[in-house]
Symmetry: C2
Subunit: 207 residues, 2 copies
C-alpha cells in the first residue's frame, strides 16, 4: 500500500515557511507520510487581497511580534536566525530553481539550504550566484540546474502552482493540503495535517 501524501506549500520569502521547512521532512517521515514539496509565490495572492508587501511590514505591531516569535521557534529547533535585509526577499528565482531541484531529486536539501542562506546567514536569495553556490555545494551542476530553472516549462509550472494554490484557498504560507482537499495554514498546523493524512488510511476513524 502506498504511503498517503501531503502537499507542503511554501514561499521562500516566508518566515514561518522557513521554520516549517526545517522540520517538515523529518516529521512526515516519522508519520509515514510522503511530503510533496510545492513552491509557490505569495505575491499574486497578497495582491488579490490588496497587499503590496508582506502583511508583517504593512502591520508593524504584528511584524514586531512575528520576529520575536520566529526567534523563539528557531531557538527551540536549534535553527539559526537573523532578519533578512531587505524583507521580504524576492523568492522568484529560488522558487524556479526549487522546481528544477525537485525534478532532479534533491528538492528538500535545496529548499532547506536556501532557507538557511536567507534566514540563517542573511544572504540575498534573489541573487543567482547565491543559488548557484548552493546547488554546487549540494553536489549538482549549478549551470545546468539554473538553466533549467529559467526554462519556459519551469516558469509555467511555477505560475500554475501558484494558480493551483490560489484555487485551493491558500492565502498564506506555509500551508498544507491533504489528498482530500483539507487546508491547514501555518507551521503550527503541520502535526494536525500529518495526523489528518494518517487517518485517511483508516476510514473507520476518519473525522
Amino acid at each position: 500500500m502506498s504511503r498517503p501524501s501531503l502537499d507542503f506549500w511554501f514561499e521562500f520569502a516566508s518566515t514561518y515557511s522557513y521554520v516549517a521547512a526545517m522540520r517538515a521532512g523529518d516529521a512526515a517521515a516519522r508519520a509515514g507520510v510522503q511530503l510533496r514539496w510545492r513552491p509557490f509565490l505569495l505575491g499574486p495572492i497578497f495582491k488579490a487581497q490588496g497587499w503590496d508587501s508582506s502583511p508583517f511590514n504593512l502591520y508593524p505591531v504584528k511584524g514586531r511580534y512575528m520576529w520575536r516569535d520566529i526567534e523563539r521557534l528557531c531557538a527551540e529547533l536549534n535553527a539559526p536566525f537573523r532578519i533578512p535585509d531587505p524583507f521580504p526577499q524576492n523568492g522568484l528565482n529560488a522558487a524556479r530553481a526549487a522546481l528544477a531541484a525537485i525534478e532532479q531529486g534533491f528538492g528538500e536539501d535545496f529548499v532547506k539550504a536556501v532557507y538557511l542562506a536567507e534566514f540563517g546567514e542573511g544572504r540575498q536569495i534573489s541573487d543567482a550566484a547565491v543559488i548557484g553556490e548552493i546547488i554546487t555545494r549540494l553536489g549538482h551542476d549549478a549551470e545546468s540546474v539554473l538553466e533549467r530553472a529559467q526554462s519556459d516549462e519551469i516558469k509555467a509550472r511555477l505560475r500554475s502552482n501558484t494558480e493551483e494554490g490560489q484555487a485551493r484557498g491558500l492565502f498564506g504560507a506555509p500551508s498544507f493540503v491533504t489528498e482530500d482537499g483539507e487546508l491547514f495554514w501555518g507551521n503550527d498546523r503541520l502535526d494536525q495535517a500529518l495526523a489528518w493524512t494518517q487517518r485517511r488510511q483508516e476510514p473507520q476513524v476518519r473525522p
Copy 2:
C-alpha cells in the same frame, strides 16, 4: 513559593479566544501556573490598524479558512460550534460583566458559559438578558452583578485593560503575556506560554 502567573487576554467576539478559554484553565492547572483572566476589547486595537471589522470579514478567503479551522479544533476538543450571527458579536457588555464576575470569584465559569452561549448555542451575547441568564444559572445574583458591570469603576477598568493590552503589544486575541513581558499570540501558543512561565521558576534553564 507562590505559583508563577500568566495573563490570558481574551475578547468575547474572538473565535480562537473561545477555543483557548475552553482549555486554558485546565492546562494552566496541570502546569502549576496561575491564570489571570484578562478581558479586553479588540475594536480599538483593530481601529488603530485601520480595520473597522474582524479581519476574517475583511479578508473572506482567510475567514472561510478560519471557520473550517475552528470547526476542526472544536471537534478535537469536543466543544460545540456554530457560526454566530452576526459575526463578530458585540462583546462589550459581556466583557464588563466578566470583570464583575472575576472580582466575585466566578470568572472562569462565567467566561466559558458566555463563549458556549455564543459559539455553541448561537445566542446574542450583546443582550443583557442572555448575560443575566448565565449569571443566574451559575448561582449568582444577576441583577447585582449586571449593575456592578455597568458601574463607572468597571467601565474604567475595561478601558484601562484595553489600553494596557495595547501597550503590551497585543494586536489580536487570544494572547498570553508572561510575568517577564513575553507575548504569545493565539490559541496555538498556550502550551508554549505555559512552558515559558514554568521555566521562569528555574532561572538556570531559562531560554
